[in-house]
Symmetry: C2
Subunit: 429 residues, 2 copies
């Protein structure tokens, strides 16, 4: 088939007619599918169920250092868990503070603390007229919701194959003292799946911020989430590069096992310099009596060490790979050559990112909804939910079983075609 | 023995000499004991260990409504856990939001949210020149640390046998729009162990705050923590009384199982009106993907219902009662008639509160430290750590075994005597 843009009006009208009939047939099937959020499937969850046997009523509940995990103490987390997360985060154990069940909560707390208390003794952001964050786009909607909630101005930065537009990042960070942070998902990014190149990481580490309280919010959520065990992306350690560049306090690394063990019942952690960790722990000493150490013990005993984590994630990869390939293959087959949209083929992470023709994403998502297929809201991957080109759609292929997923992708492709034809017809008039 | 105050200088000097010798002997024993924090003992923790068998790798992980606890969803908590906590908090299930492992963290978040976002649409406190909290004293140090951390001015309110000085509370709350909250531990209060009378609760519910965003911070931490199963304190439901008084949004109730199951690995909850819950859930939707539902399931299955919780707490009472009685009996025996201090005899909670002669508490705590006995810092039960009379000392009798506890209390009594004699001698000069 030739590109839609080369079709004349008659051809487009004929195509529209065919597609609309197909749409009605699909609608008649009464599909009910949700591929909006990155949600593990049941087989993935089952991989971690043996963890539940690590602790029973007869277990020794003490850490390797002999501390009872059932009571107060170890505010920064139990040693074996800090060691485990340190390996995962490419830092030392002393850089790590284990937190609750959600790294999102740590990011929220980190921003919230900066708003009310300031960063390491600097002016609290609530006392400033202007606070800005850089937001590589498309990006993670929940990052943007946090900064929006606190009234922080967000600035879009294009995200390329090797990371954010670093010329633009440097321009903003190095010149504007109101720029206090940047949201990064450096590996298998949400939603495009790209990983930052070594040069990108080094340019981050070598920023010379106009604001002394500028920090890089390094959400390494998918550090172990490869699809191809023999072809993994590797990124440089932001901690090591910042240390080398003389910017030891410039980063906060966030991580969790939400998509390794259980979403909502995993372990999360923040890693940073000793100076930053000191401030974090001071806040925590006001905020909490400490996080759930029994769950930390459960995780540490189940995964044992970094190799254990990696072996576990290889099993995840086996389950996930066919789903990602199904989506990318199907979209290529359905849309290839039509020039009405492209999807990414990530080597890891949780999402496939689709870019439609400009001005079509909202309509595609709406059309899919008519068919009973729920996608992430169009625009969600942009600050304020506003995709300036209205092109980006995030597809989360992990949850459905393969046959359902196939059905969903075909329905999606159909909607892309139909919306694109309508768009071209409007432009034709 | 007659009251120290009736001793003349010679008698005091002789007494001082005897006590100092006794002090040196005790010091020589090299005691190492800590009764600073309300920490359950190992037998108490063991009571909850069977909970660990409620969930294993073969368990059905679904809630009664069929939701999988291993993945995202149920932001407000799983139904069975909300029901359980609702019974404990004397509210309905729909009033309850289950949170993480620590009610302190909910209180922190509640204050923090009020500072940055405001209460239900009212001006964020960070935009106000003056924000004040009322603090019944002596009270819980960690409450005061939260309000201090956020720069909120704290006003001492005397706490009597039946609750705070309500005339004073009404005067401040009903007249000063800067007064935004009051910290309450309404049952078996920390540290004095008193419970609020029905009249006190009703006067709370009938406040007519000058500030529309005034809230009662009702930390019902010890609602089930009686020492005498046949002689329990009961307090009115602040929710029901506020509803009756036409003040449905005026309270936040906080609770947790920290001292029922495991400190740090329990379940916490906040309960409030539908309007307040809506704002809490909105914040939570920004802050987290949800709390640990597997731990909620573990708790719900273990305790089953309110009767299960109560039966469990009767077992705690058996373990705790001898410790509380030992402390009170020993202090009465050692100090009775000397008129140099009095201790409470609580019917529940986690603490015994001791009041020395004015100007002695700091010195007593320091003397104890010389003997290797760590007490809660003097003044901790007052805002800013400043006890105006320097009299109050909080004793946490729960953790040590009885023989150790006896040793500790004798050492404490010795220090009280010595410091009191020294004080009287100084006054004599």
């Amino acid at each position: 088939m030739k590109p839609y843009k080369e079709l004349d009006k008659q051809e487009l009208l004929a195509l529209k007619d065919t597609l609309e009939k197909e749409f009605e047939v699909t609608k008649g099937k009464g599909m009910r599918l949700n591929i909006a959020r990155g949600k593990p499937d049941f087989n993935q969850l089952d991989l971690s169920m043996p963890m539940m046997d690590e602790i029973n009523s007869k277990s020794d509940m003490r850490t390797l250092l002999g501390n009872d995990t059932r009571t107060y103490g170890d505010l920064d987390g139990i040693g074996e868990c800090r060691r485990l997360m340190a390996a995962m985060m490419s830092v030392e154990k002393d850089n790590v503070v284990i937190c609750g069940n959600s790294s999102l909560n740590i990011m929220y707390d980190t921003v919230s603390r900066s708003v009310t208390q300031g960063v390491n003794g600097h002016t609290p952001w609530c006392k400033l007229d202007e606070v800005k964050f850089l937001c590589p786009v498309p990006g993670y909607d929940r990052h943007f919701k946090i900064t929006e909630y606190f009234g922080i101005e967000m600035i879009n930065i294009p995200l390329y194959e090797d990371g954010p537009d670093m010329d633009l990042v440097e321009k903003h960070v190095n010149n504007d003292p109101a720029v206090k942070g940047i949201w990064c998902v450096p590996k298998y990014s949400n939603p495009t799946g790209i990983s930052y190149s070594d040069e990108t990481v080094r340019r981050f580490a070598n920023l010379r911020p106009a604001a002394p309280d500028f920090r890089i919010y390094w959400d390494n959520a998918y550090s172990l989430h490869h699809l191809y065990p023999d072809n993994r992306d590797e990124i440089l350690s932001i901690k090591e590069e910042c240390d080398k560049a003389g910017n030891p306090d410039m980063y906060y690394i966030f991580s969790s096992t939400s998509k390794i063990s259980f979403p909502g019942s995993g372990i999360s952690a923040i890693a940073s310099s000793p100076a930053n960790v000191k401030h974090i722990l001071h806040q925590m000493s006001i905020q909490t009596i400490g996080h759930d150490k029994i769950n930390q013990l459960r995780h540490a005993r189940f995964f044992k060490d970094f190799a254990g984590l990696q072996a576990h994630m290889d099993k995840h990869a086996e389950l996930m790979r066919p789903k990602f390939e199904l989506v990318a293959d199907t979209l290529e087959k359905e849309l290839g050559g039509l020039d009405i949209g492209v999807c990414t083929r990530p080597r890891g992470g949780y999402f496939i990112s689709f870019d439609s023709m400009p001005g079509c994403a909202i309509d595609i998502v709406a059309k899919c909804k008519e068919l009973g297929l729920i996608l992430t809201e169009a625009g969600a991957s942009y600050p304020y939910g506003k995709d300036p080109q209205d092109t980006n759609i995030r597809i989360a292929p992990t949850f459905p079983e393969l046959p359902e997923l196939k059905e969903a992708v075909l329905a999606f492709a159909l909607c892309v075609k139909l919306v694109s034809v309508n768009k071209l017809l409007r432009e034709n008039n």
